[in-house]
Subunit: 212 residues, 2 copies
């Protein structure tokens, strides 16, 4: 979709809009103004209107936004119905949890296999998804049109595996490792989750009492 470029600051706010609108729907609300939504979310009304207008005019002057329709519009923009074929690599503690914890279907993904180099795990299931041998990753990706890989493996393993995945058609990575995928592969989409970095940031804040 060669749509116009939208800055990542805006994109990062979309899931939160989506979530909030979901709450409002549950509460049975029908319409909301940018001013009121801003108040509830702790943003400015200006920012909300600017953000949304990157994608089109979803509101109506004098009325505001219809909550249900805006919810669905943002869902469409995010691609929550995309069902991208996805694999998870690394069935260790973290991988196992990430496999169980996330509602992939609701977020645009279809998790179809888990891989681990430990042969003894092969054939086991996590949440109805089979664990397979790491040897089969490349063939599996090519045969099944896998688009996204979730990396729950250490740096070295990620560095070694990534080129193979890219060569097999993977274009998106949810990366829990410290390996910097975009350095070697600037064209694939990457979303990093660096838990350690997040925690150290908290340490700084507590130490320096960032109390605003």
């Amino acid at each position: 979709m060669g749509s116009k470029y939208v800055s990542s600051s805006v994109i990062k706010r979309l899931p939160r809009y989506y979530r909030f609108l979901g709450y409002l729907m549950e509460d049975g609300m029908v319409r909301i103004s940018s001013r009121e939504l801003a108040e509830r979310m702790g943003l400015s009304a200006s920012q909300i209107r600017q953000d949304l207008n990157n994608f089109g005019g979803f509101g109506q002057q004098g009325y505001g936004y219809n909550i249900e329709s805006l919810y669905h519009e943002i869902g469409k923009i995010l691609g929550v119905d995309s069902g991208f074929k996805t694999i998870l690599v690394g069935a260790g503690n973290l991988g196992h949890t990430i496999a169980l914890q996330i509602e992939y279907e609701k977020r645009g993904f279809d998790l179809i296999a888990i891989f681990d180099k430990k042969e003894s795990l092969s054939g086991q299931m996590i949440n109805g998804i089979p664990i397979r041998s790491a040897n089969d990753i490349e063939d599996f990706c090519k045969d099944n049109g896998v688009k996204v890989a979730i990396l729950c493996i250490p740096y070295e393993a990620a560095k070694e595996l990534t080129p193979k995945l890219v060569a097999s058609g993977v274009v998106g990575f949810w990366n829990f490792s410290h390996y910097n995928i975009n350095e070697e592969f600037p064209r694939v989409s990457v979303e990093n989750v660096h838990l350690n970095d997040s925690l150290m940031t908290l340490c700084y804040q507590v130490l320096h009492e960032t109390t605003l």
Copy 2:
């Protein structure tokens, strides 16, 4: 430490500097210029010098930066030796993994207890840390000077528990729930980990092929 305010864009980069400098040390390197570090990290030399100079002049003209000393300086700034007394709440799948996965001592924290409302878990250990009854949280925090809480519980539970924790002296939260702590408690330090939001951002990127 009422040091001068440093923007969160800068703070978020510190853990990555720290990590990179660690790698360089392992490789036995002694000095590095901002230009070379920038190249390796995919940043600009200007940015690195600006970032560091928020905290002091750690370099030397004509020479660059001593890697080991810069590593320790950044460690000090982040507070990796703070050992803040910390509890984790919610020993479900995610909580269990977060307890196991993170090297708290190296990041400035001292994880001393895990709490869960499920009484049957009480007395069990995760990684040498005892699981306790959720009923005892407040007393435990007060008695042990707990400064930080890791919330691996759902929205409603987080909303209910947070005021009690704050009243018991907790000033920092590593928050895996969707409850917005800073809305009610603007003065505590919060670092959110929103896995779902991160994943949806990836979905957008893949769908729109942000290929740059």
